[in-house]
Assembly symmetry: C2
Homo-oligomer: 210 residues x 2
């Protein structure tokens, strides 16, 4: 089967993609969350995220304001870190951290019989800046964040909780939604490092249109 | 809504995840492709890949043999490069390249009015090793690969063609399936850098069980 290619300039591919997504979306999506929903669908071609993505009240403005004021982002995978537009974030004064490959994190995880994701969240709790967590892989990271919040050890700006998977993923996301911290969560099993990066980028890119 | 967590040791999470996936899969999946299908579902929690993933004859053995003999992998995103187990690949003598951020690639793309993905495939065509392409983002990379193959400029071991998206993505994947080169393709709109990395890792990890 050979099919005709659409004649689109390289510089127009993303624009055209978003037009197609827009044309397939229902019309009643709230304006503030729409750029996020669209970019996640752009990243996954999966319209399930229309229903999966859950937003706490005013979370998008809260994250936007924090980024404008130089907040950092902490991810639980190098892939998510790799996917976030670090140059654009740096233009506001923020940087992206991922502690997963750090030797001290590996050591702490081994000693405590826990995951590196847990140890890397613990390490992140020592950052002395405003922090947004973007978790696309490890439900254990979310469970640890909830614990650190309850213990008063962290008070993050927001948690983007979109790990993908089959073991404790659904539960960990529900937990974050009751943590009292502003959240964007992909309810259910779906998500991923790519989804975490897409949500961060959607918010960063939308800043310039504000 | 608070839900009970499953009590699984950190070291057992992946194993338990694969058991759950296995229990939800139909029983008639071909043995050779099963580890790939399972790892892609592990990465996406999306069982659509059961139907989407298409394999040319013997492609898995072809890629396995090439990796055992030290073949390199070329990706079209830093995210895909970031997600592939480079240490394990290096144990066979291979490395992962992504030329997307290279200055000469940006320059060539600008001069030729094309995408950086196209320019980076062109650059990859000059590698003097056996190469497996893993394309998770840019349909233009697949279209360029097809051109380079037809012109006799490259003869890749195989193409993992799993870009995600809305503009020319479906068509570019169909094109690769008629290129004569061994392929693994995620038919339709879905795919991504995470899917490309998952397919590479599934094959690399399966080598030790052969």
């Amino acid at each position: 089967m050979l099919m005709e290619f659409e004649n689109v300039l390289p510089s127009e591919i993303e624009k055209r993609s978003f037009e197609i997504i827009e044309s397939e979306l229902p019309h009643d999506i709230e304006k503030k969350i729409k750029p996020i929903v669209k970019r996640v669908i752009h990243t996954t071609a999966d319209f399930d995220y229309l229903d999966n993505l859950c937003f706490s009240e005013n979370v998008v403005e809260i994250i936007k304001n924090a980024i404008k004021n130089g907040a950092d982002i902490v991810t639980d995978t190098q892939m998510a870190r790799s996917g976030i537009n670090k140059k654009r974030l740096a233009s506001y004064g923020g940087e992206v951290h991922c502690f997963m490959s750090d030797e001290d994190v590996a050591k702490a995880a081994k000693e405590n019989g826990t995951t590196r994701a847990v140890a890397s969240m613990e390490k992140a709790s020592k950052l002395e800046k405003d922090v947004i967590f973007a978790v696309g892989n490890a439900p254990t990271a979310l469970i640890e964040l909830d614990k650190l919040i309850k213990n008063g050890q962290i008070n993050p700006i927001a948690i983007i909780g979109v790990p993908v998977g089959f073991v404790n993923v659904v539960q960990a996301k529900e937990l974050i939604m009751t943590s009292g911290v502003p959240y964007i969560v992909a309810r259910g099993r779906k998500g991923g490092s790519n989804v975490a990066a897409a949500i961060c980028n959607a918010i960063i890119y939308d800043l310039k249109t504000d």
